[in-house]
């Protein structure tokens, strides 16, 4: 095809404009990304993280006299956080290990969040809390209200180091800035990239790292070991009133779900509804998975029906390695996202404004074969 050489610029403009039209807001606005987390187990990332930790350890030693944590090249300089006398990082709580610590306050570069004061439901110990727990066997677990981390920890003096070994990959589809701050902060804490200064008392745990200061409240003892169970699960789904792990499906273990309710939980601006039941079929792969969701409240019918609640049955076929495709349940369209990474399957269904619902619903479950 003959071209007009002098018209190349206009030609490129026209082609680009036609090929990449303005983007409509088809998906929920910004929410904490998980792209970084998806590379958690990549060798290069782990090596890089190790290098950063090593560099930070040197820097931390030099600046131990300061209460603020050490920054890194990937984050702005930390904002010093003033701690009350009871919050000085001078004593490692005797109850540090074996306790479920519930986040009540957070201070960081984006401001402070007083969960106990402004969001009391968040610290009620119910379904939406952010937790950290360190078992006596050296394992840790962390919850940011959407995702869960697990791994090992080492405590040297008042310095805590986390080595994450597994995490879930759900996205938070909401818009609450304070909750986004919590999610980002817990993600930073659990990433293991920064050393953590530990202080507090028997009832209060204060952690300082990478510009953040976390204040946790003693929420009672936890049972060892918080690492995801990988032994042969019970063929019968068990619903124990603990946030995780949950034995859900034959041959699978649910290690994280939205909220801490044993039922799969919908979190929305309207509140929370409970739902859940899951069946898995297929001897060697996740070729077929049926999710039965039971509405907890008729007030959520509008949203629930889009997630298959009214019909009580929704079926999602999970591909061999990954899938990401629109699907419909009972004839109602919904967006969904699911992936399989190794032995782990992440299944997320999001029902949002695109489905003509005035709230965004997030359903997330992560299974380990």
């Amino acid at each position: 095809m003959m071209r007009v050489p002098n018209d190349n610029e206009a030609r490129v403009r026209a082609a680009l404009a036609a090929s990449f039209p303005p983007v409509e807001h088809e998906t929920p606005p910004w929410s904490p990304p998980r792209g970084e987390r998806r590379r958690t187990f990549a060798l290069a990332s782990m090596l890089a993280a190790a290098a950063v930790v090593a560099a930070l350890a040197i820097a931390l030693t030099a600046s131990r006299s300061h209460d603020s944590a050490v920054g890194s090249e990937t984050t702005p300089a930390p904002t010093p956080v003033t701690a009350s006398p009871t919050q000085q990082l001078d004593t490692v709580p005797a109850t540090l290990e074996g306790t479920m610590w519930l986040l009540t306050q957070l201070s960081g570069i984006h401001g402070s969040v007083d969960l106990a004061k402004d969001h009391p439901a968040f610290v009620s110990g119910g379904m939406t809390g952010a937790f950290l727990h360190l078992s006596r066997s050296g394992a840790f677990g962390a919850e940011d209200t959407v995702n869960h981390w697990s791994g090992r920890f080492a405590l040297t003096g008042d310095e805590l180091r986390l080595t994450p070994q597994g995490e879930t990959y759900a996205d938070y589809a909401g818009h609450d800035p304070w909750r986004i701050r919590v999610i980002n902060a817990i993600a930073d804490l659990a990433s293991g990239k920064h050393p953590i200064l530990v202080g507090g008392s028997r009832e209060q745990l204060v952690l300082s790292t990478d510009g953040y200061t976390f204040i946790f409240r003693n929420h009672g003892p936890v049972t060892d070991d918080p690492l995801p169970q990988t032994t042969q699960p019970s063929p019968t789904p068990t619903h124990v009133n603990e946030p995780f792990p949950q034995m859900i499906c034959p041959s699978t273990t649910l290690i994280r779900q939205t909220g801490s309710d044993p039922a799969l939980t919908f979190v929305s601006k309207q509140g929370t509804a409970r739902a859940f039941s899951c069946q898995y079929s297929g001897p060697g792969s996740f070729d077929a998975m049926t999710i039965n969701i039971v509405a907890g409240s008729t007030s959520y019918d509008k949203a629930m029906v889009l997630a298959g609640v009214k019909g009580t049955v929704s079926a999602v076929s999970i591909g061999d390695r990954a899938f990401r495709a629109p699907f419909s349940i009972d004839g109602h369209p919904a967006d969904n996202f699911g992936e399989q990474r190794g032995n782990t399957v992440v299944l997320i269904a999001v029902v949002g404004p695109a489905a003509n619902v005035d709230s965004e619903e997030l359903v997330a479950a992560l299974f380990v074969k």
Binding site: V12, L16, S19, P22, L43, P76, I109, N184, G319
Partner: protein
Amino acid sequence: MSAEPIVPGGFDEFAQRRRAQLIRLAWALTRDRELAEDVTQIAFERLCRRWATLPAADAERWAYAQRVLISQVSTWRRRRWTRNELPTHPLPQRPTETTGTDEPEVLSWLGDLPPRQRSVIVLRYLSDLSIEETATVLDCSTGTVKSQTSKAMKKLRLKDRGGDAGA
């Protein structure tokens, strides 16, 4: 569950206002709509972490956001081998109407360009930035923008000649 109001000039407001533009930019750079949304999310996360340290002027923030996005696209390209997500099914792409016969050839040319030249072309001819604005976003000189543009357009001309020769 309570929601905090969106503060004008704050990060949330910026993210909502600029999100579509950033996705479009990432889309043109990656030619993958789904990937573009992922990269944009990562760019916003980076931006959020540095928000308190950014200049107050919206233009400067926007230039920085585009720079972060372009950096993330390059990072994704370099680390693509580490990704363990291998789709076995074709990922559904949003339908795009093609109206001009030039589009496939131009897109092919764009895809073959080195990252730097591609960024320059997309910023100048899709985002309609001036040479000076493009230089600001890419943190380079205006001379570099001009030379990168010239090299890229020369490749397009060579591609056309090759097509003609073969026709």
